[in-house]
Symmetry: C2
């Protein structure tokens, strides 16, 4: 959830209820398709909505609504083929999350829109608030570079001049681009649920999910809401293999190494006590099948986040090919 006008800082809204000491945790997200498989796109949309809730350590979602804009240019056949696949992906991701979709809204729109609303009524102790301390370390649970991968795949599909230059430069092969796109799709559709459920066990000190503002943008936002005077320093950037090279070659298009490349349904950025971070990463990899990385440290500072001038890029090679 990112709401630039009304101005809410954290990933979810948390509203005290009149009943039973409960609070309502809510988030909504809707956006436009970025992969060409409607089923995977549905899963990505659901994973992206739920991710805001997982960032608070809330692992049980009580209810989801779905938001859909069906392109006005769709023929009846396109609509009847594509829309059920999107819904099916969204539903399957919701089922995987242990929740269900009980309603929503569909409109006709020039562009395809996919999104949803996730809601949970929780006791205060079910939420993990931001409370990082100097000496903590920062963990990231998915590799960066989804936007680069999705764009590069589009250049390839359309055989653009930029694509031809890229291939001629020998920086990447067409296969690298295809594999990065598959890796990005897999990661975007993957729920942050397991990461969220392990947060409490390893004494997590607050988290956010990485989406449109990029890793540094979201790190800054998480820093802003800290009760302690802390500063986040990012040293390592786990990036889908070869995407850092593309970002470098594309000049200022992505700002990946500066920390500002937009991600969709990115990983959780979590602060942990130093001695528990590695255990969390191991536990996540063994239960979830996906690696996580210690990417930075928490220092004393004025509630901000900075990037090491020369961050170390970790090339993340897919296991899904």
């Amino acid at each position: 959830m990112l709401f630039i006008f009304v101005g809410v800082g954290m990933d979810c809204s948390v509203t005290p209820l009149k009943h039973g000491g409960l609070s309502l945790v809510q988030t909504t997200d809707f956006f436009y398709p970025l992969v060409d498989d409607p089923y995977i796109q549905g899963k990505i949309a659901a994973a992206n909505v739920l991710s805001d809730m997982y960032a608070l350590g809330v692992t049980e979602c009580d209810n989801m609504l779905m938001l859909l804009g069906v392109p006005q240019k769709f023929t009846e056949e396109e609509r009847d083929t594509v829309v059920p696949l999107i819904i099916s992906g969204f539903k399957d991701a919701a089922r995987e999350a242990g929740t269900s979709i009980t309603g929503g809204q569909t409109v006709i729109n020039p562009w395809c829109i996919i999104g949803g609303v996730a809601t949970s009524a929780v006791l205060p102790n079910e939420i993990i608030p931001p409370h990082a301390e100097a000496g903590n370390v920062l963990v990231l649970t998915k590799p960066l570079g989804t936007q680069v991968a999705v764009n590069a795949r589009q250049w390839k599909d359309q055989n653009t001049e930029r694509y031809k230059r890229l291939i001629n430069s020998k920086l990447v092969t067409p296969e690298d681009i295809e594999r990065a796109y598959q890796e990005a799709s897999y990661n975007m559709a993957h729920l942050n649920k397991q990461a969220a459920s392990l947060m409490r066990h390893y004494n997590a000190r607050g988290a956010t999910d990485v989406t449109g503002f990029g890793i540094l943008g979201h790190a800054k936002n998480l820093a802003k809401y800290q009760p302690n005077n802390v500063k986040f320093v990012i040293h390592n950037l786990p990036v889908i293999a070869k995407m850092a090279a593309i970002a470098k070659s594309a000049d200022k298009l992505f700002q990946l190494l500066q920390g500002y490349s937009a991600e969709t349904s990115g990983g959780l950025l979590i602060a942990f006590p130093r001695e528990q971070a590695a255990s969390f990463c191991r536990a996540l990899e063994s239960s979830d099948g996906n690696p996580a990385w210690i990417i930075g440290v928490v220092d004393n500072g004025e509630r901000t986040a900075v990037m090491n001038a020369k961050p170390r890029v970790i090339e993340v090679v897919t296991k899904i090919t």
Copy 2:
């Protein structure tokens, strides 16, 4: 809330929660602007979202989220003028409803989108379920004809051929059209909250709100979810003054007198015991300043709704000029 694909019948989703015997009542709606005042449009959007909740007799909304699509063609100046007005209208309506907006999502879109999500955690006895009985009567709390009024105003603004024919026919005057548009705007922006809060007191036996399917479409939907074998018969159609004449002259464009003209943020259609319906109407008018009408009866039947072949049109003259 109308979700044609996932298929949920009633106005809100109602989901049992894991805590305290509570249920989550939720609804979402988003659509495109239909009036030219952005502030009023914001109010209409909020009233329309909340209306689904009011139809269940739930009068306290715990939380709202706002959904916005900002037109890509807007200049910066247009955006900075229009968007804050929309948000301001939405917020003011939420405040009037005793709730607040804690988040949402904004995207850039070819068309302007305005909508929201309303959520309440309630005890089961806070919801008034559909349980109409033969002998009950049907009450409607806002006049019909909003779509006709909004369209006629647009024809007038654009001085279309249809508009010229209409004025030449002497069926309506330009002033009639302007007044109807103002009346429609007022009604669409008006909350159904007061009507909802009086429902229980007058022993209401279930309700729905009238929106895109028209009065008969929504009556049929409400009939479908009845536990008893009932049929709704609509005899009277309260319509914004002169809009029935326009609908008749526009051939099959609106289907107003057939009960299928779309409404936005329409009134509640409520079943009451016969002896309490008039008292409800009087109480609503004295507290809310707006009339309500007994428009039909509940007979025995197969959970459907029908329109009297020659419904009596009640010309509703505005008090707001």
